[in-house]
């Protein structure tokens, strides 16, 4: 019996392969989008975790030099003799690979001999790295491939790295967690070193959180849209087999057998769809990952592996999503079958006829949620509340949409019999269509919101680059001697020279960069401030005040005329706050004189030069001062590099945008197909009364067009509200900066066009079905009660 029933159930798919295709595609799309985004997220996180685990970054206190980045070996020996337990590390960057030399005997990280990771550095001269690193270094050194090593890093015994780069010093010392009770103060043994507490070492995972937040938001959006799709897909399959299920039961198939076989059947199909989705997600992620890796590296300097591995956390969660969504939809359908009388064909559309009352009730709930989000906008603080605001905004609008659409349809034009039938019929279909319309609304408004945010960011960022990169040429030199020679050389030619002095030091308890600048025409003319005293540059050049970047100010709740500590015991007022994008760290800018007084050892090794003749000056500096070509950078090339990082962020966002829109279009298709199947009995009389099938098909298209226009009209304000919330709340909380909002009407129009196109494509299928429907099918409506 089982075989017979199963064969009958499966014969449906065999007879309607297109239905099978859409079923699997619906599931695959939902799973794919979700797992793709998860894959990217988990790959990046795995990279950071590997970095933290193998390198101990962020876990242990470290000793670093006050000035420069080198510690003589003798200092280390002194410290050990005095009782300090520390492990030496030498970092050298070569060809974009960071060589990390460690001492396997003393290191507190997982690379000690008792390590459970795959390799050990003890008694070996081997250099370890992942496959990418190995291929970069091919021809330079031989790298033993080990997958557990974080991307962009080569690890070896410290002696090996010292020999390789002809060095005899160290970069930093890792302080072991257990220290003798009595040990002398650091100042007494090694005054040139400072302790960098573990939390203060910028935790890459935390820094990049904001980026992942974006991705996760996309993930949830696709999850929601995915659930809609799975729900409608399964709904369609059941709607169309209602008659068969009834027949099976009347021929003597017990309900319990039928239900368990339906569950088995659906389980098999969902599994196949989910696996297809995982493959799709893998492809999406593999395509986007290089861009994501470049973005994260460009913005935050964190390395993410460019190749994707199949990690259980994302593919399992993808399959989980598919089964969760399917389980929910299936539960509803199974309950319906259990309620369904064996015989009567009464009202197959019962579920679609929800009363206007219910739609109104849901709309009221939606308005309450919108009220909450408005309230949060007024009084909320914190990232959690920013997200709650966005959540209420989106869900509230989604709930209001069906009711609003019905209301808007009242304004629809036309008085004729057919037109008024058409609009009345459209209103009547709202309950069946509302899920799809909501999916479309969410996708379009998320697109408008996110692209407004990213584009606003871009506009601001470009003007920011123009301010910050005013000098036409940047020269970087290695040695102090060359530096002073260069400065003299340039001054003799009466060029404006902008030396850049910098040290890293905690400010208000957080890692920050301090800059010393030579105040002159360039700074006065090009910098724009978010808030400033009238005579900022005068105060700064006299050393009476400093300028801080927005991140530092917002994070610590500081603004103009508040004070910051820029050296031990020295607090100084803020004269201005400057926007600083694409960098998570705090910055303090002070006059050159003050800086030299506070940090006399610091040397300017980087210079900005104002010139009208970059090409010749570049050649002259190379020839006269023997500065290598790689040390001189044109402003234009920095700009284009920065913009490229940005374009990559853009590419990722654009790709996700298109995907969500495609998924929403698919949700629309599923709903329209479901409705089309149920509507033959309603359309047949119209056909019999003289409307041609082509006409009926055209009317279906017109309906889809009208509805998508209404949805788009609702999506624009929602999207802008979303962008506003992202720019004013989420960005400030996550990145530390607030961006001005710009409008991009052309982009919105384009998006609207895409959304309408997607709907029309979705509506085309049922419309064509209608046009091609054999008159016999329509006639059957009259000969059969069913």
């Amino acid at each position: 019996m089982t075989n017979t029933i199963l064969r009958a159930l499966l014969s449906y798919w065999w007879r309607s392969p297109l239905q099978l295709f859409t079923f699997l595609m619906g599931l695959a799309l939902a799973t794919g989008l979700w797992s793709g985004v998860q894959a990217i997220n988990s790959e990046a996180r795995a990279s950071y975790d590997a970095a933290a685990a193998t390198l101990g970054e962020g876990q242990f206190d470290q000793l670093v030099p006050r000035v420069g980045d080198r510690i003589p070996q003798s200092v280390y020996v002194d410290l050990r003799r005095a009782g300090w337990l520390a492990s030496p590390i030498l970092d050298v960057t070569f060809k974009g690979v960071r060589f990390v030399g460690i001492d396997p005997l003393t290191t507190p990280t997982q690379m000690s001999s008792s390590s459970d990771s795959g390799f050990s550095l003890e008694d070996t001269d081997l250099i370890f790295g992942n496959a990418e690193v190995a291929s970069v270094l091919e021809g330079f050194v031989e790298v033993t491939i080990d997958k557990s090593i974080p991307p962009g890093i080569a690890i070896a015994d410290i002696g090996v790295v010292q020999r390789l780069f002809k060095r005899n010093d160290l970069s930093r010392l890792m302080v072991l967690p257990e220290q003798p009770i009595r040990r002398p103060d650091l100042v007494k043994i090694a005054p040139e070193l400072v302790v960098q507490p573990s939390q203060q070492i910028a935790d890459v995972a935390a820094l990049t959180d904001s980026f992942h937040l974006n991705l996760t938001a996309f993930g949830f959006l696709s999850f929601a849209v995915g659930l809609f799709i799975v729900h409608s897909t399964i709904g369609l399959a059941f709607e169309q087999r209602r008659g068969m299920i009834r027949t099976l039961r009347s021929l003597g198939v017990p309900l319990s057998n039928l239900l368990s076989l339906i569950i088995v059947e659906m389980g098999l199909l969902v599994f196949v769809g989910a696996v297809l989705g995982i493959l799709m997600g893998y492809t999406i992620a593999a395509m986007l990952l290089p861009d994501v890796a470049a973005t994260v590296e460009g913005l935050y300097g964190a390395r993410v592996s460019g190749t994707l591995s199949l990690r259980p956390e994302w593919w399992l969660s993808g399959i989980g999503l598919a089964f969760l969504g399917a389980g929910m939809a299936l539960a509803v359908r199974i309950w319906q079958i259990m309620q369904m009388p064996l015989l009567s064909a009464v009202q197959p559309r019962a579920w679609a006829i929800a009363s206007a009352k219910r739609i109104r009730g849901i709309a009221i709930l939606g308005m309450i949620l919108l009220g909450f989000s408005g309230l949060l906008a007024l009084i909320g603080t914190g990232l959690g509340q920013a997200f709650a605001l966005i959540g209420f905004l989106l869900i509230g609008s989604a709930l209001v949409l069906p009711w609003l659409t019905i209301k808007l349809l009242d304004f629809a034009p036309g008085k004729g019999v057919i037109t008024s039938w058409f609009w009345a019929d459209t209103r009547q279909q709202m309950p069946g269509l509302s899920l799809a319309l909501i999916a479309l609304l969410l996708a379009v408004s998320a697109n408008i919101g996110v692209s407004t945010m990213v584009s606003s960011f871009r506009v601001t960022f470009v003007s920011f680059l123009d301010q910050r990169l005013a000098p036409e040429l940047f020269v970087r030199v290695e040695e102090e001697k060359t530096a002073s020679a260069l400065e003299k050389y340039l001054l003799e030619r009466e060029l404006e020279v902008l030396p850049l002095l910098t040290v890293e030091r905690p400010v208000v308890g957080q890692p920050a960069k301090l800059y010393g600048v030579r105040v002159g025409r360039t700074y006065r003319e090009s910098w724009q401030f978010l808030g400033a005293d009238p005579d900022v540059w005068d105060q700064v050049s006299k050393g009476e005040a400093v300028i801080v970047n927005e991140q530092l100010a917002r994070r610590n709740n500081l603004w103009v005329s508040d004070e910051v500590d820029i050296a031990p015991g020295l607090n100084i007022p803020i004269a201005a706050v400057v926007g600083d994008y694409g960098n998570p760290q705090g910055q303090v800018v002070m006059g050159e004189l003050l800086f030299r007084k506070l940090y006399p050892n610091a040397v300017a090794t980087s210079f900005g030069i104002r010139t009208t003749d970059t090409a010749n000056l570049r050649k002259a500096i190379q020839a006269d001062l023997e500065v290598p070509d790689s040390g001189i950078i044109n402003q234009a090339s920095i700009k284009s590099m920065s913009l490229e990082v940005f374009e990559r962020t853009f590419a990722v966002t654009a790709a996700l945008n298109i995907l969500t829109l495609g998924v929403a279009g698919f949700a629309m298709l599923m709903s329209l197909l479901t409705l089309a199947g149920m509507r033959t009995p309603q359309l047949a009389p119209l056909w019999a009364l003289g409307l041609t099938r082509t006409w009926l098909g055209v009317l279906e298209l017109a309906r889809a067009l009208g509805l998508s226009i209404i949805v788009f009209i609702c999506a624009v304000p929602l999207g802008l509200a979303l962008a506003w919330a992202l720019l004013n709340f989420v960005n400030v909380e996550a990145f530390g900066w607030q961006l001005p909002m710009f409008f991009f009407p052309a982009d919105y129009a384009f998006l609207g066009g895409l959304a309408i196109l997607a709907t029309l494509i979705a509506a085309a299928w049922p419309a064509i079905q209608m046009v091609r429907k054999p008159p016999a099918t329509l006639l059957k409506v009259f000969s059969n009660e069913r």
């Binding site: 017979t4 029933i5 027949t247 099976l248 009347s250 021929l251 319990s256 009660e785």
Partner: protein, 218 residues
């Protein structure tokens, strides 16, 4: 007695309140016996048939099939009985659209676990369906679909055969061939047959005739 209905009542809720369709119907049918059930449209003939098959639950009265009280049985047991003992030809045929004619004919028999291909081909021959075996129900005429439904019910070799206007869509000569096939099977297997019909000619061929009017049998 194979089938026994006693004082069956049944109402449906319509637009304007409850409509009492059956008001105490009693009916007995022995193995091998044939019965014609007639009555006006909407009088409740299909309802009696559905109740006899255990598809519909009566509001009152008792119903015995082979001495077993059907009303007391659970869903699964009733399905079990229907599957193996009862063959039904529905007024709306109820064929499975995604299965071929051949698979439809053998469907209930294989559910019941007693598929007999030789018997099936005899039926196909007698009912004139040989050319349609590989087709799907949607491409069949009403009369052809009706014959497929009859073949499906007969292929189970049921003890009780219930047919709802089995010749309603057929011309005279086909109708008489179909009837012959049904009576032939009933004769061979000792099954009982209850036919709902408007055709006096068909009713004439049955052992007994009852007429449903005003919710009771005359």
């Amino acid at each position: 007695m194979l089938l026994e209905l006693k004082d069956i009542t049944k109402s449906f809720s319509g637009v304007d309140g409850e409509v009492e369709v059956l008001r105490g119907v009693s009916l007995g049918l022995d193995a091998g016996e044939t019965l014609a059930l007639t009555g006006e449209s909407g009088s409740g003939k299909s309802t009696i048939l559905h109740i006899s098959a255990g598809l519909e639950v009566p509001d009152g009265g008792s119903l015995h099939l082979e001495g077993v009280e059907i009303n007391g049985l659970g869903e699964a047991e009733r399905a079990n009985l229907r599957r193996s003992e009862v063959g039904i030809v529905f007024q709306q045929f109820n064929l499975i659209p995604s299965l071929t004619v051949e698979a439809n004919i053998g469907f209930q028999a294989s559910l019941a676990g007693r598929r007999d291909k030789t018997f099936e081909s005899e039926l196909v021959e007698e009912l004139g369906l040989s050319d349609q075996l590989k087709q799907y129900p949607e491409s069949l005429s009403g009369g052809q679909q009706q014959r497929v439904a009859i073949a499906r019910a007969l292929a189970v070799r049921p003890k009780l055969l219930l047919a709802d206007e089995p010749t309603g869509n057929l011309d005279e000569s086909t109708a008489s061939a179909v009837l012959t096939a049904m009576l032939d099977l009933v004769g061979r297997t000792g099954a009982a047959l209850m036919v709902v019909t408007h055709s006096a000619a068909l009713a004439e061929k049955m052992d007994r005739r009852v007429r449903l009017k005003g919710g009771v049998l005359l």
